[in-house]
C-alpha cells in the first residue's frame, strides 16, 4: 500500500471520512470555514484600512487582530490537515491543491511582512502608509482571493474527494 493509501486508511482518516457523526467530517469542514472567515476577513479589513477605507481610524490598534488571525490560521492548519488525511489519495494528487497551498503560503508570508513593515517599523498614525505598505495590502487581497478560488475549485477539478454520499459537484440535469 502506498504512503497516501496508508494515511487515508488510518483509523483517524477513516473516522473523519466515514463516521456518520456530525463531529467528524461536517464539523471539521465547518471549523475550516469559520477559520477562513476570520483569517481572511480580518486581514482584508486591515488591507482596506491601509488602502484608505475608514482612514480616520488609527491603524496601530488593528494589530491586536493578528492574535485572532493567527488563532484562525491554526484552526485551519489543523482542520485542513485532518481533511487532507481523510482524502490523501485524491487531494494530494490534485494539482489544484498545490496551487491553493502556494497561495496560502504567499498570503501568510505577506501577512507577516505587513506586520513588520506597516505596524512595527513605521510610525503610522497621522500619516499615510507608504507605497510598499499599500502594495502589500493589495497583494494580500490577491493572494487570499487566489487561495479561496483554488480551495473552491479543488472540489470540482482533478480527482474528486469528500465524504461518501457528498458529491461536491455542479448539479446536473
Amino acid at each position: 500500500m502506498s504512503f497516501l493509501q496508508t494515511l487515508e486508511n488510518s483509523a483517524f482518516g477513516a473516522w473523519v471520512r466515514e463516521s456518520s457523526s456530525l463531529w467528524a467530517y461536517p464539523t471539521i469542514l465547518f471549523l475550516h470555514t469559520v477559520g477562513l472567515g476570520f483569517l481572511v476577513g480580518l486581514n482584508a479589513a486591515i488591507d482596506l484600512r491601509i488602502l484608505g477605507v475608514a482612514r480616520k481610524a488609527p491603524l496601530a490598534p488593528m494589530e491586536r487582530f493578528y492574535r485572532v488571525m493567527w488563532t484562525a490560521f491554526w484552526i485551519n492548519a489543523l482542520s485542513g490537515t485532518a481533511l487532507l488525511i481523510a482524502d490523501a489519495t485524491t487531494k494530494l494528487t490534485n494539482p489544484v491543491f498545490y496551487i491553493k497551498m502556494s497561495f496560502v503560503t504567499l498570503a501568510v508570508i505577506n501577512m507577516v511582512r505587513l506586520r513588520r513593515l506597516v505596524f512595527r517599523r513605521l510610525a503610522i498614525d497621522g500619516r499615510a502608509v507608504g507605497g510598499l505598505g499599500r502594495a502589500l495590502a493589495i497583494t494580500s487581497l490577491m493572494f487570499w482571493g487566489g487561495a479561496i478560488t483554488a480551495g473552491r475549485l479543488m472540489a470540482y477539478f482533478g480527482p474528486v474527494s469528500g465524504a461518501p454520499g457528498l458529491q461536491n459537484r455542479i448539479p446536473t440535469r
Partner: protein
C-alpha cells in the same frame, strides 16, 4: 405555493444555466460566495470584537465607515446564494439546515435593525479610543458574532443535516 414557485423556477432558463447548463457560473458563484463570506465576517468581526473590548484604542465612529464593505459582502452572498437556490430549488425547500440558515440570517438582520432604530448606533458612534461601549451594544455585538458563525454552520450543514448535493 412554495412548491409551485420552486417548480416554476426550476423550469426557467436561469435555473438551467446555473445548474450546469453553463458550468462556470456555478464555480464562479461558489468562489464569490466564500469571498463575500470572508468580507462580511471580517468587517463585522472588527466592529463586534472592538465593541466587546478588543483593540480598544480604535474609536468606534471611524471604524463604522468600514460597514459598506460588509454590506457589499452580504450583497454578493445574497445574489450568489439566490442563484444556487434557482439552480436547484428542491434541494433547498425541503432542507432543514437551509431553513435554519434563513432563520439565523433573519435574526442577524433584526439584530442590526435594533442596533440602528434604538439609537444605540448613535451612542456607539461617539465612543472614542479607550472607552467602553454601553452594555446593550456589547450584547448586540456578541449576538451578531454568534448569529453569523451560526449562519456559516447551517450553510456548511446543508449537505449533512439537510439533503443538498
Amino acid at each position: 405555493m412554495v412548491q409551485t414557485f420552486a417548480a416554476w423556477l426550476h423550469g426557467t432558463k436561469l435555473s438551467w444555466a446555473v445548474a450546469g447548463g453553463v458550468p462556470w457560473i456555478w464555480l464562479l458563484c461558489e468562489t464569490l460566495h466564500f469571498m463575500g463570506l470572508a468580507l462580511l465576517v471580517g468587517i463585522v468581526g472588527v466592529l463586534d470584537l472592538r465593541m466587546l473590548g478588543m483593540a480598544k484604542e480604535l474609536p468606534l465612529g471611524p471604524i463604522q465607515r468600514l460597514m459598506p464593505w460588509a454590506v457589499l459582502g452580504f450583497t454578493i452572498n445574497l445574489i450568489t446564494g439566490s442563484l444556487f437556490f434557482a439552480g436547484d430549488p428542491s434541494q433547498y425547500i425541503h432542507n432543514v439546515a437551509f431553513a435554519w440558515k434563513l432563520v439565523f440570517i433573519g435574526l442577524a438582520g433584526v439584530n442590526v435593525i435594533l442596533f440602528y432604530v434604538t439609537g444605540l448606533y448613535r451612542r456607539v458612534d461617539s465612543v472614542g479610543a479607550g472607552h467602553d461601549v454601553p452594555f446593550a451594544a456589547k450584547l448586540v455585538a456578541a449576538t451578531s458574532l454568534f448569529l453569523w458563525v451560526g449562519v456559516m454552520y447551517w450553510g456548511r450543514m446543508l449537505p449533512f443535516i439537510g439533503n443538498a448535493f
